[in-house]
């Protein structure tokens, strides 16, 4: 078991190093940062001085070493645009994105799984067909459109919920949370639904198709022949057997929720990493882009690690494959 974890951690580290190399290449190939930092009227001598100060004239290998060493210490340099340490910028915005992503995930899971189980069990019922029809909409409508529709309905027409921003936040020192105030929670609802809707429909459809599959298996037939209750069969025997593929997808989706909250954050002017990233792209603010790239990679790698560990908990057969022969 320990060997299994160590192997996975080592793999994760390799992935991160590769991504770090790619992030470093950004510096070399995406425009000239000096042009982005200074105005038209700055002289060539001043430009060269700045270039030297930023270490952009050093040999490539030296720059790479410096980048990796700094990245290891979570130092991604100074934003070209904001003139602030990148980690400070990202750290200040990470809580907003993280809370949004978590709420969206909780929403998607809490609604998506029961919906998938229901439509899997009662596949012929009218309600199931209705859900499936609606879920098609959820899958095919683009996120920004859903966001705008929600804003129109709940913020403009009904005026129940705010249309932008995080509402009131509480500063815990290292973490600014919107979860502790009523206004903060209300501000979270619409963006979380917008961000989670696609995942919800995806999860519901996945759970449904897995349920349909599992319900056809012999061990479910045998469980019925043993006279077990429907509850035990559906939620104990069937749902648990759908979990391995469902966990895989959910893991990947949570990663992408965090990483690609960009659209939702733009629609709702949510002060998170997505907005920061958009402005970094617009300004060729490479240190931010590089740090964001690495951060997203780290999130994906971490989630995959957690998913692998969850497999082991859910499915005893994998434990044997992992070397812990019982």
């Amino acid at each position: 078991m320990l060997a299994f974890i160590l192997r996975r951690v080592a793999e994760a580290a390799i992935v991160l190093v590769v991504v770090a190399l790619l992030a470093f290449l950004l510096f070399r190939f995406v425009g000239d940062p000096i042009n982005q930092m200074v105005g038209q009227d700055v002289s060539i001598a001043e430009r060269e001085a700045l270039r030297a100060q930023l270490g952009l004239n050093d040999p490539l290998i030296v720059q790479l070493g410096r980048f990796l060493w700094n990245a290891l210490q979570l130092d991604f340099g100074i934003s070209y645009r904001f003139r602030q340490p990148v980690m400070e910028l990202i750290g200040g915005r990470f809580p907003a994105t993280f809370e949004l992503a978590m709420m969206a995930s909780v929403f998607a899971l809490a609604v998506g799984i029961p919906l998938g189980v229901y439509t899997g069990i009662h596949r012929e019922s009218l309600l199931s067909r209705f859900f499936l029809g609606v879920s098609l909409i959820g899958i095919s409508l683009p996120t920004f459109l859903i966001g705008i529709l929600l804003i129109y309905l709940f913020a403009v027409k009904l005026q129940w919920l705010p249309s932008y921003g995080r509402g009131a936040t509480v500063d815990l020192g290292f973490w600014k949370t919107g979860l502790l105030t009523a206004a903060g929670l209300k501000a979270l609802i619409l963006p979380a639904i917008t961000l989670g809707l696609f995942q919800l429909t995806l999860i519901a459809r996945l759970v449904r198709s897995e349920m349909l599959e599992v319900l056809r298996t012999d061990f479910i037939k045998f469980a019925r022949a043993r006279g077990l209750t429907d509850r035990a069969i559906h939620f104990g025997h069937a749902l648990k057997n759908t979990l391995v593929p469902v966990i895989t997808i959910i893991g990947l989706q949570i990663g992408s929720i965090i990483a690609f909250a960009v659209v939702t954050e733009t629609v709702f002017q949510w002060p998170g990493m997505g907005l920061l990233f958009i402005s970094a792209v617009q300004n060729a603010d490479i240190p931010i882009m590089a740090a964001y790239l690495l951060l997203v990679a780290a999130i994906f790698v971490t989630i995959n690690l957690v998913v692998d560990l969850l497999y082991v908990i859910v499915d005893p057969r994998i434990r044997v494959a992992g070397g812990a022969k019982a």
Binding site: L228, N241, P316, A326
Partner: protein
């Protein structure tokens, strides 16, 4: 038969509605199983053996449905019971064993969990007592070192051992009748005999009657008290195993027995029945076997032969009295 049979099936019909009309998969079959008796059910694939079992335990897959007749368990009608009442009969009064032990057990639960779950569904035993009973069952079905194996997962057992676990599960709540649907087909030849012997032994000890569905005539000859030969959803011949195997009267039963190789006779070729069993949508009028029968005459094509009693057997052939044609 003076004692009331544990299972009594009268004129059972099972049909599948399809777009091209209703297919009759079981067509008016009647038989009894006495307390503690082993009834073998043989026939080709598609003859309706498994469907009969599924109909009795109330697990016909929709759209299959019981279209007529009745099924009585210990005199009480069970074919029209509500879902929940039927669930209490499954496992508690009728146990079932399926063909493939590799897929009959839920891979994610320990053997102990599956046994205890079944026991506690049908009895008032507390968790500790149920576990003791699970251990006793595993011991009884001949699992070596049952204390250590109790908490193992199904994948840690071999096929034969898993089928023993399945038998323990089917017996967990002391049912009066066990329906064994090809319990040895998926097993190695070397363990088939063990499993059959075990099944017979434990069922005798628990006073459970057995409906043994198989196409292995050797198994029937060794195990069954009586045997029913099914053809195209009907019973061609039913009677004491000695009579049916040694002196079959129905032409199909004769063909079936003649197709079994024996060491005693050194026939150069095995006998074979020309043609194939008709598909459900093309069952001929009159006797279903008439296109393949060597002794066919006019009446066979017009009229369906009803079973007639000959000695302890019942044979559905107009020529049964005369020895079934040739």
């Amino acid at each position: 038969m003076t004692e009331r049979p544990v299972l009594s099936v009268r004129d059972l019909e099972v049909e599948f509605p399809t777009r091209r009309g209703v297919l009759k998969a079981i067509d008016r079959i009647s038989f009894d199983i006495a307390r503690g008796e082993v009834l073998g059910v043989v026939g080709e694939s598609g003859a309706g053996k498994s469907l009969t079992g599924a109909a009795i335990i109330g697990l016909l897959e929709p759209p299959g449905r019981i279209a007529g007749g009745e099924i009585r368990l210990d005199g009480e009608r069970i074919d029209n019971l509500p879902r929940e009442a039927m669930r209490h009969i499954r496992g508690r009064r009728i146990g079932m064993i399926f063909q493939d032990p590799l897929t009959s057990l839920n891979p994610l639960y320990r053997v102990s969990e599956q046994l205890v779950e079944t026991i506690r569904t049908h009895t008032d035993l507390d968790a500790r007592r149920a576990r003791e009973r699970a251990l006793a069952l595993l011991t009884e079905v001949g699992i070596p070192a049952p204390e250590q194996r109790l908490d193992a997962y199904p994948h840690q057992f071999s096929g034969g051992m898993r089928q023993r676990v399945v038998i323990a599960l089917a017996l967990a709540a002391e049912p009066e009748l066990i329906i064994a649907d090809e319990p040895t087909t998926a097993l190695d030849v070397s363990v088939q005999a063990q499993i059959i012997a075990l099944l017979k032994k434990v069922c005798r000890q628990h006073h459970a009657a057995v409906m043994l569905i198989t196409h292995d005539m050797g198994v029937i000859a060794e195990t069954a008290d009586r045997v029913a030969v099914m053809y195209a959803g009907r019973i061609a011949e039913i009677g004491p195993v000695r009579d049916v195997v040694a002196r079959p009267r129905h032409p199909y039963a004769k063909g079936l027995m003649g197709a079994i190789p024996t060491l005693a006779t050194d026939a150069p070729r095995l006998m074979q029945i020309p043609g194939a069993m008709p598909r459900l949508n093309a069952i001929p009028a009159g006797c279903a076997f008439n296109p393949r029968c060597a002794a066919v005459f006019d009446r066979c094509r017009r009229e369906r032969p009803e079973p007639v009693a000959i000695g302890a057997s019942e044979v559905a052939c107009f020529l049964a009295d005369a020895g079934g044609g040739r």
